[in-house]
């Protein structure tokens, strides 16, 4: 098994409160370099909150987040992107009145290496050819699947060392879900480190090396994907059974 102290990224006893509600009740997890880790759990388990506090969009009330040996729980969200964590938020959240090209350019707005940006744009077009065709179309006029591809590409344009993915299959047609997961598999093969939140357990565990199952703000279960695929308790966590 992996050793948390050598991990690229780790979360320790993370607690997030929204007023009187404790959304996260002290969760710990880690991701090694080159690894794909899935966060599973029912609605309201705290998956998106975890991702949001990692990327600095929500602030933890206690606990700490480490990335490449540095604590980032007090770092601004724009600085976190510069350090190498990109977040593809839930529901895609594109810049709807801007073109596909502008959305991609905004994904790299923390970078200054022009040659690298051009090369990465080409890489995105190779990974998602539809984006090349839709280059000058407004992002708000794309279909759900196209929007999800653009949201992924926009996050990748930051050249991240760790990619946070929140429900890449949400609102996407079944055929395109397959396509998007094939692209994620290709990214994994290229060595991208990912932390994935996904409702579709089977797809998530096929892609991921390991997974954590969250239930009401705490880690209920964790293990390798093979173990969890055959574990009845994963399904129980979703159904809310004790």
């Amino acid at each position: 098994m992996s050793d948390p102290s050598k991990a690229l990224f780790s979360v320790q006893n993370l607690e997030v409160r929204f007023g009187a509600v404790r959304a996260l009740k002290g969760i710990s997890l880690h991701v090694n370099k080159g690894e794909v880790v899935a966060l599973l759990g029912a609605n309201g388990a705290g998956k998106s909150t975890t991702l949001r506090s990692i990327s600095g969009l929500s602030r933890p009330s206690s606990g700490d987040i480490f990335f490449a040996g540095q604590s980032i729980s007090r770092v601004s969200s724009s600085q976190i992107v510069r350090l190498g964590i990109a977040h593809s938020p839930e529901g895609r959240r594109l810049f709807g009145s801007l073109t596909v090209a502008e959305n991609l350019r905004l994904g790299s707005c923390t970078r200054t290496d022009k040659a690298g940006i051009i090369a990465d744009t080409e890489r995105m077009f190779a990974l998602f050819p539809i984006l090349r065709e839709r280059h000058f179309q407004l992002a708000g006029t794309l279909s759900g699947g196209e929007q999800q591809q653009l949201a992924l590409a926009r996050a990748l344009m930051a050249a991240p060392k760790l990619l946070l993915l929140d429900e890449p299959s949400l609102g996407v047609a079944p055929l395109l879900i397959k396509y998007i997961f094939a692209a994620l598999t290709e990214l994994k093969r290229q060595g991208m480190t990912m932390l994935l939140v996904e409702q579709n357990i089977k797809l998530a565990l096929q892609l991921a090396d390991r997974a954590y199952v969250l239930r009401t703000g705490a880690v209920a279960l964790s293990g390798s994907s093979e173990e969890l695929l055959s574990d009845d308790r994963v399904a129980q966590a979703y159904l809310g059974a004790a």
């Binding site: 601004s76 594109l94 810049f95 502008e102 905004l106 994904g107 707005c109 923390t110």
Partner: protein
């Protein structure tokens, strides 16, 4: 690039022609309308930066215009005027008198500084909250203008400002405003402004500093509001705090929304449409005679018709006359497209 230079050159030539050629052929009445249109264009353009492009719907813009007008007015009064009109002015201000251009620049810089102070806490707010909060700023400016009577003569008319504002001055400042805002809005920074407007969470997620982006848009808008306020002060000569209050706010917002919130040319077109319409309607409401038919005077009718036209435009063109497009005389204005062809990254 060349297309834009041609459009800009044409616009400058037309403006220069009107500014220097028109006085000999046009009546004072028309000259006044053109000047007011140009002045309102500066106000609405500066308002569009925060309200249209960055998604911070400010209702406090007129506060900056008013502050700019009073500051420029105080600085421009002659020493003798200051002694008689503002006898309690602090010694720091009462021994000198600035010419038009420096007074205007100081007014703009002061309102920009004011915008930094006001914007730093307020630009954290979004949606309706920032609108109400900036309206609070407008009310504060109004109350300060009324009560700081050592500086402003309070609710009495502030008078004696030299009438320096001529058409060439206003057109000159309008050209500067359009040039600066155009460069800004269609730059990487402008792209970040629109990203913040479209989705603040996504903007933070890609690494944009939302507060900084909003604050910069707000401050630059306030600078040009202050400059416009100074021009307005030197046009009116006399004004009072009520000149810069809700009536002016609503007027500017109507022009911006009707023209199109995400377009610089839309802002100007909105000003032109509203100004010409209200002038036309005002002359019609005095009553007129065509042949045997005599239409009696219907005072107030112009406001009603104008209100109806606003309603109709909002129903049929909810994004305003221009929406987010720019008026480019048929030249393609998409900078993204041409940059891609040349393999450039902005």
């Amino acid at each position: 690039m060349t297309a834009r230079v041609i459009v800009a050159g044409l616009a400058l030539a037309v403006m220069g022609g009107i500014a220097f050629g028109a006085p000999s052929i046009m009546s004072d009445y028309f000259m006044r309308i053109i000047l007011i249109i140009a002045l309102n264009s500066i106000f609405v353009l500066s308002l569009s930066l925060s309200n249209g492009f960055t998604g911070v719907f400010s209702l406090g813009h007129v506060g900056f215009i008013g502050a700019g007008a009073y500051i420029s007015g105080i600085l421009s009064l002659t020493v003798q005027q200051k002694q008689s009109l503002l006898p309690h002015l602090p010694d720091l201000l009462n021994w000198f008198s600035l010419p038009f251009l420096p007074a205007t620049l100081v007014a703009g810089l002061f309102t920009a500084l004011l915008a930094v102070i006001v914007g730093y806490p307020l630009m954290r707010l979004s949606g309706y909250f920032v609108s109400v909060a900036t309206m609070g700023f407008l009310i504060i400016v109004n109350v300060v203008l009324i009560n700081a009577s050592n500086f402003t003569r309070g609710a009495r008319t502030f008078t004696g400002v030299p009438l320096d504002t001529t058409l060439p001055w206003v057109f000159g400042w309008l050209a500067v405003t359009v040039f600066v805002l155009w460069r800004l809005v269609y730059s990487p920074f402008g792209r970040r402004m629109k990203a913040v407007r479209d989705d603040t969470v996504a903007a933070s997620a890609v690494g944009i500093d939302v507060l900084k982006t909003r604050l910069l848009a707000f401050v630059i808008g306030a600078f040009f509001a202050g400059v416009g306020g100074s021009l307005y002060a030197h046009y009116l000569g006399s004004f009072s705090p009520v000149t810069f209050y809700f009536a002016m706010t609503m007027n500017l917002i109507a022009m911006l929304v009707l023209g199109g919130m995400g377009s610089l040319s839309g802002a100007i077109i909105g000003v032109i449409c509203v100004s010409i319409l209200s002038e036309l309607l005002r002359s019609v409401e005095r009553g007129f005679t065509i042949g045997d038919i005599t239409v009696p005077a219907l005072y107030g009718a112009s406001q009603i018709v104008l209100g109806f036209i606003f309603i109709l435009i909002m129903i049929f063109r909810p994004k305003g006359i221009m929406g987010e497009r720019e008026f480019t005389l048929g030249f393609s204005g998409s900078s993204a497209k041409s940059n891609l062809k040349q393999g450039k990254v902005k």
